[in-house]
């Protein structure tokens, strides 16, 4: 662990030093050995870290009777019965309905978050007005706030408005930029955009709305995409929200429907539960594989280079 920085530096040295032949020749062999060890160690870690997901995938082909009997990866009697069974759904609601519900909520959440967060971020990053500092600090503060302190009053509020058992309590907050993280992310991004173009547009008589829509929005696309992906995934995975607000089984999004499978069938039909778990995870995993660079790199560099 401690020799972390040796190699980048060694490469650096190779480029800059002229004629240092002897050390150059010795270095590569040691480097090759180190690299091999490095790969082996990391591959081992990867196998451990990803094992639960691989196990999940293979387990979906195990008959329920094998759970608790066959701890291994491969099914003894592979079958696609689990999938055939779960497609029918549960309690009279077909499986696709739960997917459609989740998709609807997630898409609305993405739209709401992008619009409201981008507007707020522009104000924080580009408009100088009284109180902007205090409000920005308050927004940062909500990032650290344990959200459990607001779920009870929010529930009472939505209950009074008779919006329980609708999707409004899940979607409306997204249109009001309550996910401060995304406001923050986009603020960071806008701050890195040079002001020259704004100022040129300003001189030409453009107002903030014009500058926002025709200059800023096209330039912050990467931040918007990152926000969209994260909003989608978090909303898709969200459990507490729909647990509180959605009561009718035909309106259930996947995480709550999964609970239905889990409660109803956990003792008798593990196969079905595991198959639905995998199907619920699949869109997220595909998203991740497609956009992983965006997610991992985008966020890490955006934040730290702030």
């Amino acid at each position: 662990m401690t020799y972390t920085t040796d190699v980048p530096r060694a490469e650096f040295a190779e480029i800059t030093t002229e004629g240092g032949r002897a050390p150059r020749r010795r270095a590569p062999r040691r480097k090759t050995i180190n690299t091999v060890i490095w790969f082996v160690v990391l591959l081992a870690f990867t196998a451990i870290v990803l094992y639960p997901l691989v196990w999940l995938l293979f387990s979906t082909f195990k008959p329920s009777s094998e759970f608790g009997q066959n701890p291994g990866l491969l099914p003894e009697n592979p079958t696609i019965d689990n999938y055939v069974k779960v497609v029918e759904g549960i309690g009279g609601t077909p499986l696709w309905q739960f997917f459609a519900n989740s998709l609807f909520i997630a898409v609305m959440a993405v739209i709401g978050t992008l619009i409201s967060s981008a507007l707020a971020a522009y104000a924080f990053a580009r408009i100088k007005f009284r109180g902007v500092g205090v409000l920005f600090a308050a927004m940062i503060g909500t990032l650290l706030l344990p959200f459990h302190v607001i779920i009870i009053p929010q529930y009472i509020l939505f209950n009074k408005l008779e919006l329980v058992d609708t999707y409004w309590p899940l979607i409306l907050p997204k249109f009001l930029a309550t996910e401060a993280f995304f406001v923050f992310l986009i603020v960071q991004f806008i701050r890195n955009i040079p002001r020259d173009m704004d100022e040129a547009a300003r001189i030409d008589g453009a107002g903030h709305l014009r500058i926002f829509f025709s200059i800023i929005v096209p330039l912050i696309k990467p931040a918007l995409i990152t926000s969209a992906i994260f909003t989608f995934i978090w909303t898709w995975n969200d459990f507490l929200g729909p647990l509180l607000y959605v009561n009718s089984p035909e309106k259930y999004p996947l995480p709550i429907a999964l609970r239905l499978y889990n409660d109803a069938t956990s003792t008798s039909d593990y196969g079905a539960t595991v198959a639905v778990s995998f199907l619920a995870l699949l869109p997220i995993l595909i998203f991740f594989i497609v956009f992983q660079r965006f997610l991992v790199e985008g966020v890490a560099t955006q934040g730290l280079k702030g």
Partner: protein, 337 residues
């Protein structure tokens, strides 16, 4: 509605930006906007209108869905309220009951503290260790980085909780592999002594998010510092403690703050693994699970609000302590941006 993952990613937004926010707060406290000449006052007013105009959705959400509910929740904490009758003022009764007359509450506090105080350091140590390992070489590390990050993205989901429970059940893969070594522990899920370690392992499994931040931080440590240390005769261990750790301290601070706060809020996995019961013997009855049970299953919304405010105060104290002590161990090298 926030989830665990969410704030994990928040951490990635980085410490530097956080400090900028703090600076802005300080600036705002100290005198507000600089005085403007009379000619520019009209311009200033237009800017103010535009500023608040853009902020309308956020302001409605902030006041209506965050500040307002917080104040109402503080009021409810001093009442008895079941959603159907009017709240009844009971003074400090809820708080007194919590600490003197509710063993379930005290147990919940205890296991949550164990979870936070044991799980977070292990998770961060794993994140830092793997980040150092990844930083050793650039080529090929992208694949590993993404693979390690994946659990952070899905770790709080119901699917993963179900997998975790299946993996740690009697005859599941974990039990099966331990049996190979002659260790007969049986299932972890129903075991009072093992279910908490199982939950901690689930948290540690999600080390990828802080790892990504550590890695980004490591990449910004200037190579000259290592060269200078080497000239002074420092070995790898010395370089780690005297260069890497101090240079990384802002990132360590940031990860520590956010991961600690997050760990207090673990909910979905414990809820699913115990089927909402917090069992066995209350060993997965984490603070938020108990809060949910009191508030929404028993409809004791006053009591649950009091619990929520205790959590807010605890989190605020932890954040305060971390911010206060950072002067002594967090090293901000390039404060001049």
């Amino acid at each position: 509605m926030s989830t665990e993952t969410e704030s994990i990613v928040t951490a990635e937004a980085g410490s530097r930006s956080m400090r900028r926010g703090m600076r802005e707060l300080r600036r705002a406290e100290g005198g507000g906007t600089p005085p403007v000449s009379a000619g520019r006052r009209a311009h200033g007013r237009r800017e103010t209108i535009a500023g608040y105009g853009f902020l309308v959705p956020w302001l409605i959400g902030f006041l209506g869905l965050t500040v307002g509910p917080m104040i109402y929740s503080l009021y409810l904490a001093f009442t008895k309220y079941n959603l159907f009758t009017e709240p009844e003022w009971v003074g400090f009764d809820n708080f007194v009951r919590m600490f003197t007359d509710d063993p379930n509450y005290l147990q919940s506090v205890q296991i949550t503290l164990v979870y936070v105080l044991v799980g977070t350091p292990i998770k961060l140590a794993a994140a830092l260790g793997i980040a150092l390992l990844l930083n050793y070489r650039n080529k090929g590390s992208g694949f590993f980085r993404s693979s390690f990050y994946a659990p952070s993205l899905i770790g709080a989901s119901v699917s993963v909780a179900i997998v975790w429970r299946a993996m740690f059940s009697t005859g599941g893969p974990v039990d099966g592999s331990l049996n190979l070594f002659g260790i007969q522990l049986g299932g972890w899920v129903g075991n009072v002594a093992l279910v908490l370690p199982m939950m901690i392992l689930l948290a540690v499994w999600q080390f990828g998010a802080p790892m990504v931040i550590f890695l980004a931080g490591l990449k910004q440590v200037p190579a000259e510092l290592y060269e200078a240390a080497e000239v002074d005769g420092a070995g790898p261990v010395r370089k780690f403690w005297s260069v890497t750790i101090p240079m990384l301290s802002p990132v360590i601070f940031f990860n520590l703050l956010l991961e600690t706060i997050n760990a207090f809020q673990v909910f979905a996995s414990a809820f699913i693994i115990s089927n909402g019961s917090g069992g066995p013997a209350g060993m997965t009855n984490f603070y938020t699970v108990y809060l949910y049970k009191r508030g929404f299953a028993d409809l004791q919304m006053g009591y649950a609000s009091a619990m929520a405010w205790v959590l807010v105060v605890v989190v605020a104290i932890i954040a305060f302590i971390l911010f206060k002590t950072q002067k002594s161990w967090v090293h901000y090298a390039g404060e001049n941006r």
